[in-house]
């Protein structure tokens, strides 16, 4: 609008502009001050949310009386504002008698002709005069009209959605990039809430909150590009392997609805888990026993990982150390999790004979996922021990010295020069039971006796099925009926059970052991009943001390259910090995 075109509305403005120009050049010469409270952004779209912009201007003239206060909206920020940039006068008030005033105004986003203005930035200009020589202009304030809400244009992650912050030479920060077509995204609030999946509860749990990286802004392809940064740590500072999702949210400050989008990612700190899939018909375990004739030629291994497995390597230990040459297995390609390790014939890359003789061998397997995580660095390598044994164990020997029993269950015991194997027990040549040999080479088992006299033999069988020659025969006599069966010599071995069969039902049987000098050294209540009782003596006194070897008198007291107690005394000898 040009001067002199007859528009009455612009006449005072032109006058003011002239005054402002003079005041701007001269600067404020009094204590006159303007304070403006306003809402920067609003969306005049009738959704009842920030549809207008509230503006409160407080003018303080100090000692001087205010002449007037002016507030207007312009399309440019320049000072003094150009009349041509005026969009609407909000306030033009002359206060002649007051030294300060408060002016409240509301802008609905329209110009002085009532036409709605387009989305964009506009500028609030306010100035006041207190006396002819005092004019104060407030710096221009940017206001925003934005009737369109924020929207995620695109979301991407760098380096990849498989985030491996603990991998060697890997990025330790995940970048969540997003773009938005909204022109004011930079002033909006952008956040990402990280949820971790709990497989047991089948639920997502929020573990971290990250905000927009304020230092990063790019304008590419006609849209702004921003980012959020996450170092993989949850609220407690821990880096936990698992499936995650990021809930990105843009909150608009002009009152338009927020926008939210969801992206999935994986935080990977775990290397592949290795297990034996099949090894001669056996799965799992770490120790294998094979007879040379049944040694499998291939070991099948499974490498499981949430990512694809990149490779698997095997090392063979024949001596004190593992072979320095690790074998990268053929077929170890991404997404392949099962591997075949050739054993026979042994690969040329491994040292030693091409065949396996009796002995112990060790294999160590390691795997790497696509993120570059090796199991040996981020897990437990699979270490296998292979025993090749074609030699039969030595024949066991009986340590049981009691050969006559009056109760049907007896404990037979013996030793075997090869520990860790099993012993099969035979009664008159028929296999009855299998029992393990402990680390010290001893075995014992409770067996059920057959009436009469029978020969018991034992044969050792090792892990690979080699069977030892039979032991010497142990003739066991089982004669049921009322009797007292006490070993004459007690050596503290398994099976030295004192058995008492009573002729009638008994309430209890008590054994009292006396030294030959008359001192009572031990009292034992026999277990069982009502007619078959048994007791084991550990050759200690009541205070738990080992008794000295030699003769003792045992007094067996039987308390029948009806009638008086009966006593029987025997002499026993402690003969420790």
């Amino acid at each position: 609008m040009l001067p002199g075109d007859g528009d009455v509305a612009t006449a005072p403005i032109r006058t003011l502009c002239a005054l402002l120009a003079a005041a701007f050049l001269a600067g404020p010469a009094s204590a006159l001050e303007l304070r403006i409270d306003y809402e920067r952004a609003f969306s005049p779209n009738g959704d009842q949310s920030q549809d207008s912009c509230r503006i409160n201007v407080t003018a303080d003239g100090g000692e001087a009386e205010l002449d007037f206060v002016y507030v207007g909206i312009y399309s440019a920020a320049g000072i003094p504002p150009a009349p041509a940039d005026l969009l609407i006068d909000l306030v033009s008030t002359s206060v002649a008698t007051a030294t300060d005033t408060l002016v409240t105004s509301t802008w609905d986003g329209r110009d002085q002709y009532g036409a709605p203005l387009a989305d964009g930035f506009y500028y609030l200009h306010a100035f006041a005069r207190a006396g002819a020589d005092t004019l104060w202009h407030h710096p221009a304030i940017q206001l925003e009209i934005n009737t369109a809400g924020p929207t995620f244009h695109s979301v991407s992650m760098e380096p990849t959605p498989w985030f491996t912050p603990t991998a060697e030479a890997a990025d330790t920060v995940l970048q969540l990039f997003f773009t938005s077509a909204d022109f004011d995204t930079l002033t909006d609030t952008a956040t990402a809430r990280l949820d971790r999946f709990d497989p047991e509860a089948a639920a997502w749990n929020e573990v971290a909150l990250v905000e927009r990286d304020a230092s990063y802004y790019q304008f590419t392809g006609g849209v702004p590009r921003m980012r959020l940064l996450w170092d993989g740590r949850d609220a407690e500072g821990a880096i936990v392997d698992g499936a995650y999702r990021a809930r990105l949210r843009l909150e608009d400050d002009a009152g338009n609805p927020d926008d939210e989008t969801l992206v999935g990612l994986d935080l990977d700190t775990a290397a592949p888990a290795l297990s034996v899939l099949d090894f001669g018909g056996e799965a799992g375990g770490a120790t294998f026993w094979f007879h040379p004739d049944s040694l499998p030629d291939t070991l099948f291994v499974r490498a499981a990982d949430r990512q694809a497995v990149d490779s698997c390597r095997v090392a063979w230990k024949t001596g004190g150390d593992f072979d320095s040459l690790a074998l990268r297995l053929p077929g170890a390609v991404p997404d392949s999790t099962d591997f075949a390790v050739p054993l026979l014939p042994r690969p040329a890359a491994w040292v030693g004979d091409s065949t396996l003789v009796d002995g112990t061998y060790r294999i160590r397997l390691d795997a790497r996922d696509e993120a570059g995580l090796w199991t040996q660095d981020h897990g437990t390598v699979l270490s296998l021990t292979i025993h090749v044994d074609g030699e039969a164990p030595p024949a066991p020997a009986w340590t049981t010295t009691t050969t006559t029993y009056i109760q049907q269950v007896a404990q037979l015991a013996g030793t075997c020069a090869e520990a860790g194997i099993d012993v099969r027990l035979y009664e008159d040549g028929d296999e009855r039971q299998t029992v393990a040999v402990n680390a010290s080479g001893a075995f014992s088992a409770y067996v059920t006796l057959s009436a009469g006299v029978h020969d018991w033999t034992a044969r050792g069988v090792d892990e690979t099925g080699n069977l030892s020659p039979p032991s010497a025969a142990l003739s066991i006599a089982y004669r049921p009926g009322p009797a007292l069966a006490i070993p004459g010599r007690l050596r503290g071995r398994p099976g030295e059970t004192i058995q008492i069969n009573t002729a009638e039902d008994a309430a209890s049987v008590t054994l009292r052991f006396y030294a030959l000098t008359g001192g009572l050294v031990r009292v034992i209540e026999a277990s069982g009943g009502p007619r078959e009782f048994a007791a084991d003596w550990d050759l200690r006194d009541d205070a738990g001390r080992d008794l000295l070897d030699g003769l003792y008198v045992v007094n067996v007291r039987v308390d029948p259910v009806q009638g008086d107690a009966r006593y029987e005394r025997k002499v026993v000898a402690i003969v420790r090995d």
Partner: protein, 311 residues
């Protein structure tokens, strides 16, 4: 070295030897067993009342009670069904007889020595047999009229009759007795097994924990004498006994009785009775302890003693 210094040195040596060097066990056999029928009749409280060759088995310091030589033999059998028997023979000799003062009741030699042999046989619960033998020797010395000391060593062996389980043991004990306060009052102490080692052939050494035996005896009017005794091991009184004898017909008949309290495990009381018949240089003693029911069984001993060579 004066007699007093010798006594002090012997007492120090005794105390040193009696201190246990390492944890030991109790019970067992391969040892010198109590032998005398007189001792059994007194409930085991005969360490001071029966000075003579039989003291070899209980209180070696009492050997000085011999006036000349003594020879004895005894049989011991356990009743109640346990098949166990013990036979013993002892020979002793005292030297340097002191003429007793009017107030003294116990004849005392300056020195004495004795030796014994025992055989213990048993039938075990599985009807197999067992046999042990023991050789023992002892020396006693009375440096003062009111004091005597003695030491005893033994060697035992044997085992199962199949020859598979054969053991050996050596043992050393020492004792002291003294007249205190009144000529009729005596006290005694025996450190049993102050040195002891036992082992099976090719086996490990094992040791019996030393026992401490304290005794006091009084010779009362009307030809009555009494003794009380306590045996202590592992901080426990294994046995406390009281015995008395009445010389009913001097030189012909002695009546004896005793009461023993066994303190290990379930405490129990065992009464005992016995008598002695004098026939010139011979004496025949019988003793019995009654321990039925829950006990190890009653016991009977018969002993014959022949004395000679005295003043």
């Amino acid at each position: 070295m004066s007699a007093t210094r010798r006594i002090l040195a012997a007492a120090c040596l005794l105390a040193f030897l009696a201190a246990p060097a390492a944890a030991g066990s109790m019970g067992g056999s391969f040892r010198l067993w109590e032998h005398g029928a007189r001792d059994l009749a007194l409930g085991g409280a005969g360490t001071l009342l029966a000075p003579g060759a039989e003291s070899l088995f209980t209180q070696p310091a009492s050997l000085v009670g011999m006036d000349g030589w003594e020879a004895g033999a005894s049989l011991r059998r356990l009743g109640g069904g346990a098949d166990l028997y013990l036979s013993s023979a002892v020979l002793g000799w005292g030297s340097g007889h002191r003429a007793p003062l009017a107030s003294e009741r116990t004849p005392t030699s300056l020195g004495a020595a004795a030796g014994a042999f025992q055989y213990l046989g048993a039938t075990l619960a599985d009807d197999t047999t067992w046999g042990e033998w023991t050789l023992a020797g002892a020396l006693a010395w009375s440096p003062l009229r009111w004091l005597s000391v003695g030491a005893r060593g033994s060697l035992a062996g044997g085992g199962h009759d199949d020859g598979e389980d054969v053991g050996r043991a050596v043992s050393l004990s020492a004792g002291v007795r003294a007249v205190v306060l009144h000529p009729a009052l005596e006290v005694g102490y025996v450190a049993e097994d102050i040195h002891h080692r036992f082992r099976w052939e090719d086996g490990e050494d094992r040791r019996r924990e030393p026992a401490h035996v304290f005794a006091a005896a009084a010779r009362l009017p009307w030809r009555v004498a009494a003794e009380c005794l306590g045996r202590r091991r592992f901080a426990t009184w294994e046995r406390i006994a009281l015995g008395a004898e009445w010389d009913a017909w001097p030189g012909r008949l002695v009546l004896r009785g005793g009461l023993t309290r066994h303190g290990l495990g379930e405490a129990r009381w065992t009464p005992s009775l016995g008598f002695g018949l004098g026939l010139g240089d011979f004496r025949l003693d019988y003793g019995a302890a009654f321990d039925g029911g829950d006990g190890p069984g009653s016991e009977h001993r018969l002993a014959l003693l022949w004395r000679g060579g005295g003043p």
